[in-house]
Symmetry: D2
Subunit: 343 residues, 4 copies
């Protein structure tokens, strides 16, 4: 059994990692850290895990981490970069679910995250953990930067179109909508039930930190600098991301449905739905699937892509488990083969 550690397990991403790891057939949870709750039983904080996990939260700095085969960082940004170097040197594998190792350009990282990067030397070896793009590299990686939730939904929608060169990379608009759990397990007024319920709004229109992350991936796919307008919105629901992506078509006659089905036919977690479909977020709730549909507007010559994921699963912890499976040579779907919870 793979011995796994989870650093910062009191957030929703950490909780989702625990939910998945307690039933993983080839991994076991060795240590779970939390500064705030150190010493308390995990099941006291998360009563849904009563009977599933007997551990207490440890301090972040615990030497128990070094006994692990792999450590997941589910910490706020700018935390993992301080602890990862020592663990890598100790021979562990690391999957960082925060943004610390996602951008390959340390300057760009500094600009968006407001501080100097503390482990710039590791950016080269960090692999961006989107299996649908980098499966081989992930298999050999020691340090995987797990993608953000919005980037996962948006990039997966665009891979086939950009690889095939059928859209104008200067025309991309990603109108993305996320459930509130994307904002984290925090005591914040704007996420209070009474503020977020029966309400809908855009946020961070002038610039969201996922913008450079998405652009980095799209630039590589397009082999040039793309132009992306990215507007995130908050939906009064707990889980789910729906990205509606627009781009101008360069070719009129292409069979887009076939293009998408072909590109993803061997992907275990990508479901290209039948023509005319409208995927909904609950069809992926609690699962690691991304469901996609492609529509074209003939009059306006616009490609409209609909992409749904569960932000905590394929958008975070599920994808991290998928990456772990690849890194350890397991069946890529191990521990991830349950259907979504619906209704």
């Amino acid at each position: 059994m793979i011995k796994a550690g989870v650093v910062g397990a009191t957030g929703y991403t950490g909780l989702e990692l625990l939910r998945l790891l307690v039933k993983h057939p080839q991994a076991t949870i060795h240590v779970v850290t939390s500064r705030a709750e150190s010493g308390k039983p995990v099941a006291d904080i998360f009563p849904g895990l009563r009977g599933e996990i007997d551990l207490c939260f440890s301090e972040h700095e615990t030497s128990l981490l070094k006994d692990c085969d792999i450590v997941f960082f589910a910490t706020p940004n700018a935390t993992a970069m301080h602890q990862v170097p020592a663990l890598l040197q100790a021979g562990l594998k690391i999957i960082d679910l925060s943004a610390d190792f996602r951008l390959q350009d340390a300057q760009l990282w500094s600009r968006w995250y407001g501080q100097t990067h503390a482990a710039e030397e590791l950016l080269d070896q960090a692999v961006y953990g989107l299996p649908e793009l980098h499966r081989e590299k992930i298999a050999k990686a020691s340090l995987v930067a797990n993608p953000g939730c919005y980037p996962t939904a948006v990039i997966l929608a665009l891979i086939p179109a950009l690889e095939a060169g059928i859209i104008d990379p200067q025309s991309i608009i990603a109108d993305a909508k996320s459930g509130i759990s994307g904002a984290g397990r925090k005591a914040e007024l704007h996420n209070n039930f009474c503020e977020a319920s029966e309400n809908f709004k855009a946020y961070a229109v002038p610039g969201h930190r996922h913008l450079p992350e998405i652009c980095q991936a799209l630039n590589t796919l397009a082999k040039k600098t793309v132009s992306l307008t990215f507007v995130p919105h908050l939906v009064p629901m707990v889980r789910g991301i729906h990205a509606t992506v627009y781009a101008q078509l360069l070719q009129k006659k292409i069979d887009i449905q076939s293009l998408y089905e072909k590109r993803y036919k061997d992907e275990p977690f990508i479901d290209v739905m039948p023509m005319g479909s409208h995927p909904d977020t609950r069809s992926v709730r609690g699962s690691n699937y991304c469901r996609l549909a492609a529509h074209t507007s003939r009059e306006s010559n616009t490609l409209v892509l609909l992409s749904v994921i569960d932000n905590l699963t394929k958008g975070a912890a599920g994808q991290a488990i998928q990456n772990m499976n690849i890194m350890f040579g397991l069946d890529e779907t191990a521990g991830l083969t349950f259907p979504p919870l619906s209704p």
Copy 2:
């Protein structure tokens, strides 16, 4: 007091008309019709109106309608067109909240609504009831076609930009999100709480009936045929529409904030919010306001407009009352001067 009739008052639009009319200082409800509930007290169907309204529902065909000064049609599409001609001839004023008189082109109407128009001859005299565009015509009209909810949110977002000619009319994308009440008060599986709650999806991507209605208004504003991609989505909330509208800027240096503030400075129900704002739907819940914010993405040269309304108020019944006020020479805000309900 103006004697008002409401035809088809068992839907959410009808209920919202009743909520507004019972407290209107210069109007009184004379007759309320419903085929399904005829004979029953209105307050039995809508317990929230106990103590507010003593009427029973009448048959649709009641002669009581002819005693009214104005009749509101809150009926399904293709109903009003059969009854309106006789009422107009009897000298009444009509505000139709359905789609029957919104499109000036009967052929286009037929194509989208799947039947021949029964009162084609009235399309010329029907005025599209968006006061911010057609206030003078509304004042003189006998027949007002009350705009759809999505069109209200999208058109109000675009009026200043199109009038000023600062955007490319071939580049417009309207990504719109609506609360479930927009689907009407109906027993339909897909609107069951368990289907709609904790869920988000796009719908009608291949073509929504509000598309030609929006285009008709935008074509006039742009003085040419615009190209519009319109994608509606369902939000798990009761009330509210949020339209996120994208267009390519033709001019870089324009002061968009001033342009919007100037265009709308005398409008009682349009609130251009300060630069950088993100209007949320609950800030207009139950009120007749439309709140707007304009953002520009420098890199992509894209104008991003955020527009929120309550779909049942400014998007339907509130705007209908506003039109009634204009048609009868009342203060345009009469009966509409209450703040939104928040939280």
Copy 3:
């Protein structure tokens, strides 16, 4: 016009007071205080009030308060008791929406609120502001203790039965359910949307501060010490309280429906619904109504009372306005005559 001050207006109760006061025909808002937001425009914190209110928040200690005719305290518990004495001496009328003056027994207050009462000498003159019980006293009062939300719903359900002596006062169980806004406008993890949504739970079963408040009123009505089991629960909705109250019937043959209708027939805000009704919280949302239904279970000889209010309106700010109206000799319904918002 009555000049009103609102102390602590950044909570939901304060916001609801502002919503009601901006449209009150005989009152005007003179000063609004908040320690945290002092100096900022009220409409910046509550965008729904843009165009409705031009004031900025003042410091709590402002001398502007003394220019008022009446001051509402919408502060956390144990705040008003420090400021009220000086304002009373200055000749103002006070309505305290917190719990400071609700219990007549200072010892009891100390036990439940964990500190010594700072204005014990005022408890005698404070009137418990439930108009349906104390209308005459309220009319003459300078200091009104506005009832808690749960007590309002529970006491109104029981008044007719206890006054008529038809139930065993040792057998009362109040199973109460509240929307999340009852917990206040605070950054607290357990009220985060993701914690409270799609969830239901009881809380404070060992003892809730509203228990002694309810008992105090019931004891007076029963003319003896009642026995009450009170269990509050949290409902994933914003507004509304539903109290389900159980008691053993002492008399079998009484016409309970008539008893309730007779007791409340002149009450402007109490709606005794027809036999067999199940009032729902949305039928009072945003309004000052309490709707009641009485059922009896023949087999078990149990009276089952269903009582719904909007916790922010009849359960807080609306009842406070009703009390103000009574204190100033206005029509008791002034500023409170709008229908609930539904759907």
Copy 4:
């Protein structure tokens, strides 16, 4: 592998059975019937099952049913009783999730379900499928009547107290709250999102069909006729039941916490929480757990029991799988060992 059939699989209970069966280690889905959707792929109706199930819906009367080892009826009431006799004769095992075989008294069934029972002769052999009461009988049964959702939550709360004789069986009040999925997957106006959301109400106070079912079980436990007041309520959430059960304590000094822990210490799905706990429904969402807490109110000598289940899992399909496991001698937890989905 056990070959399972599901009759009436288009409801929420049926869907939940499919979700559980597709991953059951020792069972496989052989046939899925639906009159309305016959011929259509299951995954077309439930997109969340794309990739999980390849079957199409069959007619109800299909001979495929006879090839099964076990058939689950997830049909409306009064359906199974017509089909079960033939299947039993063919040697199959049956678990009926409807109410057809829950009441042992055919007269009582007739009174509550408004028709004559069509298979009265089977009532004797039908076992009420609450494993915590009837595990041995279930193991030998051919026909199991799977308990209703409310009865499961209420009976599990009361078993230890009634078995120990510590409460007055004439004093039981069950105030129960259910998510909307309990009302089924139906197109009904009162379950429309806009009717059910942001709302709370009691229903069926004069008499709910689960009342005689609960009483039947409680009578047996108490060895006398109990008196039960049962009031169900609707919570604006999809899944979950919270029963708050009140009863008068006959003995003051009993250690209730120990009593409950002892009674349930070997039960795999019953979690007696620590003293003072308030179980919430999301701690069991999607899982087969029932979590319980017992409180006592000293003043009123009342026992307050809090009991939560997922109405679709332990309250329906999960308990059915548990019963199947027992009937076939499998590990009772097979296919049910996943944690709840939270948040």
